[in-house]
Symmetry: C2
Subunit: 202 residues, 2 copies
DNA sequence: ATCGTAGTTGACCGATCGGTAAAGCGCAAG
DNA sequence: CTTGCGCTTTACCGATCGGTCAACTACGAT
C-alpha cells in the first residue's frame, strides 16, 4: 500500500480514541487495528506490545492536552488566578465537547488509565505518575504567580497545587460518573478556595 | 459438598478482593471461581452474569465502607468539622492498611470501578452514581452540623459537600497513582478549606 | 420410600485474547 | 537487474473469555 508512513499514526489515533472512551482491559488490539484499517501483523511491526502502544498513546495524549487545555489556560499575560479559572473553563469545554459528540462524559484520560492500570502494570503507573506531576507543576507555577502578584496570601504553593490537582481529578471522575459535564461548572470554582499552609495574617 | 450455603458469600468475597485490587476487565470469572474454590457452573447458579456479580460486590462494598469508614467518622457526639477530619483519617488508615498488606495503594473502589465502567455499562454506572450520592450526602450532613454549631460561616453546604467529595475521590486516585497513602495525610486537610457560596460577612 | 429441588460438577460452546511467523509486496540504492 | 529492507498480509498459536448444559448429588418435605 501507499498509505505506509501514517499507519503508525492511524493506530495511535484509533488506540487513543478507544482506550479513552472505553478502557485498557476492554479494548483488544484487534479492534484497534480494525478501526485503523490495519492488519494485526502490521500492528506488531510498529509496536512490540499492547503495553508499549499504551505508553505511546499516553505521551500523545499529553501533547494534545498541552495544546488544547494547558496552552489555552496558562497564558503568560494572564494573572495566576485567571489562569486557574481558565483551566477549569477549558476542562469544562473539553468534557462538554465529548459529551456532545458521543453522548458520554469521559473524564480524565490519565485518571481513567491510572485507576485501571496502576495496580497491574508498574511501567504504565510510573509513566502516568510522571505526567500527572508535570501537570501539577503547572498549577504550582500559576499559584506562585498569583502569590507574587498579590492575588493570594502566602501559603504552601506546592502542597496547594497538589490539592487543587486532586480536586480537578475528582471533579472529572464525578462528572464521568454522573455523565454530566455541568458538574464542573457547578462546583469547579471551589478549587480556588483550596489552600494549604496559609499564614493567615492581617 | 457440605460448604453449601456460604458458596455465594465466598464468591462475593473473592470477587470483591479481585475486582478491587485489579479491575473488571482484567479479572475473569474463572479466576474468581478458583479463588473461591467454586466450579464455574456453580457460579452461574448464584449469579446470572458477571455484571450482576459486580453489582452485588458494589453493594457489599458499600456496607463495608459504612462499617469501617463512615460509622467511625460520623459519630453523632462529634462536631461536624471533627467528623470530616475523622473521615480523612479513617480513609488514610484504610489505604495504608492495604498498602501494608499487599504493597499497593488501591484507591477508592467506587472511583476505580466508575473510571473503567461508567462508559461501558449503564447499569453499573447508575449504581455507582447512587452510592456516591449517598456518601456525598453524609458529607453534607456533617457540614450542616458544622454550620449549625457555628464552626463554619454560612455557605452552600450541598455544593460544598459535593466539592469536598470530589476532592476526596481525586485524593485517593492520586494516592493510588503514586502508590503512596501518605499523600492523603499531606494534603488531605485542604478539604476543610473548600467552600462554595460562602456569604463572607463580618 | 419417593419426589422435588437447591446446589455441584465438569465438559463444552464459539469468540476473542495478546502475540508470532512466514511469505510477499513495492521501492530505493547499488 | 538485483539485492535488501520497510511494510503488509494471512494464517496461525495456545490460552482465556463469558456463558451454557446436562448429569449428578444431597437433602428436606410429603
Amino acid at each position: 500500500m501507499k498509505a505506509s508512513t501514517d499507519t503508525r499514526q492511524r493506530l495511535l489515533d484509533s488506540a487513543r480514541e478507544l482506550l479513552y472512551s472505553r478502557s485498557y482491559g476492554n479494548v483488544g488490539v484487534k479492534e484497534i487495528c480494525d478501526m485503523a484499517g490495519v492488519q494485526k501483523g502490521s500492528f506488531y511491526h510498529f509496536f512490540p506490545s499492547k503495553q508499549e502502544l499504551t505508553l505511546a498513546v499516553l505521551d500523545e495524549f499529553f501533547i494534545i492536552s498541552k495544546q488544547e487545555i494547558f496552552s489555552r489556560s496558562f497564558r503568560p499575560e494572564w494573572s495566576g488566578m485567571k489562569q486557574l479559572n481558565a483551566l477549569l473553563e477549558n476542562i469544562y469545554v473539553f468534557q462538554k465537547g465529548t459529551k456532545e459528540q458521543i453522548g458520554k462524559t469521559l473524564g480524565c484520560p490519565y485518571g481513567n488509565m491510572s485507576s485501571e492500570m496502576s495496580t497491574q502494570d508498574e511501567v504504565i503507573r510510573q509513566r502516568l505518575n510522571g505526567l500527572l506531576q508535570q501537570m501539577e507543576m503547572s498549577l504550582k507555577t500559576a499559584l506562585d504567580k498569583a502569590l507574587h502578584e498579590g492575588e493570594i496570601s502566602p501559603c504552601n504553593t506546592a502542597a496547594t497545587a497538589a490539592a487543587m490537582f486532586a480536586f480537578i481529578e475528582g471533579l472529572m471522575l464525578l462528572a464521568k460518573t454522573r455523565n454530566d459535564p455541568e458538574l464542573i461548572r457547578e462546583i469547579g470554582a471551589a478549587m480556588l478556595t483550596i489552600r494549604i499552609g496559609e499564614t493567615a495574617i492581617s
